[in-house]
């Protein structure tokens, strides 16, 4: 599994377990509520907590926004050591050149027919990165490739009947 995907798995699991556990506590509290006839809950305190909960939610998403800016692909391009021109067509990827040396690589992807996706997988089958391309424009995916071997490209946008046959390949050498 890709490192970012592993991080997402852990983060999602922790947050979801906590969130769902809190809701289960709320559900369990209704047993006590039934015994008390529902009259003992601290309604006024809960009302006072509403703005603080909103502030908490705002702080979380603000931290998430600024904390992940370094991962925004178009804001963080390294100088390329090599460029690969990719033409995406129903249902092939034409790569020029088909072999590059390990390092920072720019993939300049174009399409003449429909929208395609350029999904890059390393020699171990782990996802590296991706970019979308619509006809008539060039989309540049900048990424660092350190592993040597044969990489695969899978089409990451539905493009017609042969979409699942649209697999390209290129090689990274030392």
């Amino acid at each position: 599994m890709n490192g970012t995907l592993f991080f997402i798995t852990i983060l999602y699991s922790i947050v979801t377990v906590i969130g769902v556990a809190v809701y289960f506590v709320v559900i369990a509290s209704t047993k006590r509520g039934r015994r008390e006839g529902g009259g003992e809950a601290p309604i006024a305190s809960m009302h006072r907590a509403e703005p603080w909960w909103a502030v908490f939610a705002l702080v979380v998403v603000t931290v998430l926004f600024f904390g992940t800016l370094a991962g925004v692909p178009w804001l963080n391009r390294a100088k390329a050591d090599a460029t690969v021109n990719v033409k995406a067509l129903q249902f092939v990827f034409v790569m020029q050149p088909a072999t590059v040396k390990a390092g920072n690589v720019d993939f300049k992807v174009t399409s003449d027919d429909v929208s395609h996706g350029f999904g890059l997988f390393d020699p171990d089958g782990k996802m590296v990165s991706q970019i979308q391309v619509v006809p008539g424009v060039t989309s540049t995916l900048s990424t660092k490739l350190t592993k040597t071997g044969k990489y695969k490209i899978l089409c990451f946008e539905y493009c017609g009947v042969g979409h699942a046959q649209m697999i390209g390949q290129f090689e990274v050498t030392k």
């Binding site: 809950a41 509403e50 909960w53 939610a57 998403v61 970019i131 539905y158």
Partner: protein, 536 residues
């Protein structure tokens, strides 16, 4: 019940719930209930068809069944079924059911339809649109996906005709007309005299009241009656979908022009923006009515008013604005050289985060409303609480999707498919079934046929649904792409598809059990409602 001008009590004296209208016009009640039942039964029929298509799609991927024809025929048919399934399940079932349910809730809250023309138009255009989608996909083999990935509809590789593209575009346009006319019906209803009463308030003032501004600014937005909280999300989605359906409608019109004049074309990047300007708000065409239903039902089950204040109203105002400027989060991986798209993507990330506020505050307020309450557990409330937990757990996935750094590896993977099935079926779908069970005594005038079958439905949907969704999420976290009829060998993804099949069967059987229960209820003798059961 015959349509007369007599007034009837909603609840026995002394037990009036928190924000129901004190009295209702019997004619409104009868007509709205009949209309809602029509929306319910028709959308449920679409659920059966769309669900069956979903079973075929996943079974083919697991290589349990085959489709007719050679490999290319099979692939195209699979994508045509996928197109029909997406629109059928999302719009023709879930959205259509909730559209009908909102008319009923509005009436219960004292905002009956002021004209039935738009609601009737909404019903018939959705029915016609759905039939057209069925014809264009299943018979004419249009397989451009529900998002009509322009210009794909015009590059079919000979698999479908230009006429099929035309029928599909016109049919989806009809579904769009259905949504817009429904919005008009809602807006006319909530801007009527129901809240402002004797106060002299202009149209925009009444709209502000329906958005809850009376809580924020009582001296400016005066009313005879506090706006019931469920009215706020209904008004928000009415405004949102009225405006945000228009960009996609424009794209569909442009596609129709191209059907008749092949020299005409549209800029694909613009087309993608027009699509997603509708494509994300339409998710809230399900979620916001679901939230309105939770605002309506949960206080009744908890036997206390919603624990909400002013901040949630402010959050909904933010949600109203944010929902119209967040579509580019579906296009984070589109950033062509030299275009402004990357700037748009960057601005839509914080706006998308902002729309979590109504969800965060609603989940908090609903939890507070339930906290240590004398909560009534019934099939309806059980499904709704499961829906809230599904909303919470699927909502976290949405925040991750909306984060650009994470989207680089999540976009167009099966994680996204897992996320929207989680949200659509295990959050919103659960609440839809909750509304069904809760509404049966009132709308069908019958006692539920079997609570035991309802519990089987619940546990089957919970276990089958989560097992089924987790398989997709797992595949996506391993990088598996979406919209592949058959996943490639050598990545280890196929095992997840095979693992999902038993869960899918449990899920399908549980939903069938639920539908059987409801059909048997409808066929039973009327007016045998148990005493002591909450009349919602």
């Amino acid at each position: 019940m015959t349509a007369t001008h007599e007034h009837i009590s909603v609840m026995p004296a002394g037990t009036l719930p928190y924000d129901d209208a004190p009295v209702l016009n019997a004619a409104d009640v009868a007509r709205t209930e009949a209309l809602t039942r029509r929306f319910w039964w028709t959308s449920t029929l679409f659920l059966v068809i769309a669900g069956l298509l979903g079973l075929i799609l996943r079974s083919y991927q697991a290589e349990i069944i085959s489709l007719p024809g050679n490999q290319t025929d099979q692939a195209n048919l699979w994508y045509a079924l996928m197109t029909a399934h997406g629109l059928g399940a999302f719009v023709a079932w879930a959205a259509f059911f909730l559209m009908g349910s909102m008319l009923w809730l509005l009436m219960r809250l004292g905002f009956p339809l002021r004209t039935y023309v738009f609601a009737e138009l909404s019903y018939w255009t959705m029915v016609l649109g759905t039939l057209g989608i069925v014809i264009s996909t299943l018979l004419m083999r249009f397989a451009g996906s529900w998002v009509a990935l322009y210009p794909l509809p015009f590059h079919s590789q000979g698999r479908w005709t230009s006429a099929a593209t035309g029928v599909f575009s016109a049919s989806v346009l009809l579904a769009g007309v259905s949504i817009i006319t429904w919005c008009v019906a809602l807006i006319i209803s909530v801007t009527g005299p129901a809240i402002s009463g004797e106060q002299k308030t202009g149209w925009f003032g009444r709209l502000g009241l329906a958005l809850g501004f009376g809580y924020l600014w009582p001296s400016r937005f005066k009313a005879d009656r506090e706006v019931p909280y469920p009215i706020i999300p209904i008004t928000v989605i009415g405004i949102n979908m009225f405006f945000m359906t228009l960009p996609f409608a424009l794209l569909l019109v442009l596609m129709l022009v191209q059907v008749f004049d092949s020299s005409f074309s549209t800029d694909p990047q613009l087309a993608k923006n027009l699509l997603w300007a509708f494509g994300h708000p339409v998710v809230y065409l399900l979620l916001f009515p679901v939230v309105a239903a939770l605002y309506y039902f949960i206080p009744r089950y908890a036997k206390r008013p919603l624990v909400f204040g002013k901040v949630v109203v402010l959050a909904w105002t933010i949600g109203l604005l944010a929902n119209m400027f967040l579509w580019a989060h579906h296009m984070y991986m589109d950033y062509p050289d030299g275009s402004a798209q990357s700037f748009l993507n960057m601005t839509h990330e914080p706006i998308t985060f902002a729309i979590t506020l109504p969800s965060a505050l609603s989940l908090f307020g609903l939890a507070c409303t339930m906290w240590r309450s004398d909560f009534e557990w019934s099939p309806g409330s059980l499904f709704m609480i499961a829906g809230i937990v599904g909303w919470l757990s699927a909502g976290f996935q949405g925040v991750l999707n909306a984060t650009i750094q994470f989207n680089v590896v999540l976009h167009n993977t099966l994680w996204v498919v897992g996320h929207f099935h989680h949200m659509a079926l295990l959050a919103m779908g659960m609440v839809i079934f909750g509304i069904f069970y809760a509404g049966v005594p009132t709308l069908l005038k019958r006692e539920l046929y079997s609570e035991k079958l309802a519990k089987i439905h619940f546990w089957g949907m919970l276990i089958g649904g989560y097992g089924w969704v987790i398989c997709w999420l797992g595949q996506g976290l391993d990088g598996a792409p979406r919209r592949w009829d058959l996943l490639p060998d050598g990545f280890g993804w196929q095992i997840w598809t095979e693992l999902s099949i038993p869960f899918m069967i449990v899920l399908a059987l549980s939903i069938l059990t639920g539908l059987y229960n409801i059909v048997r209820t409808a066929m039973s003798s009327p007016w045998r409602v148990k005493e002591g059961v909450t009349r919602v």
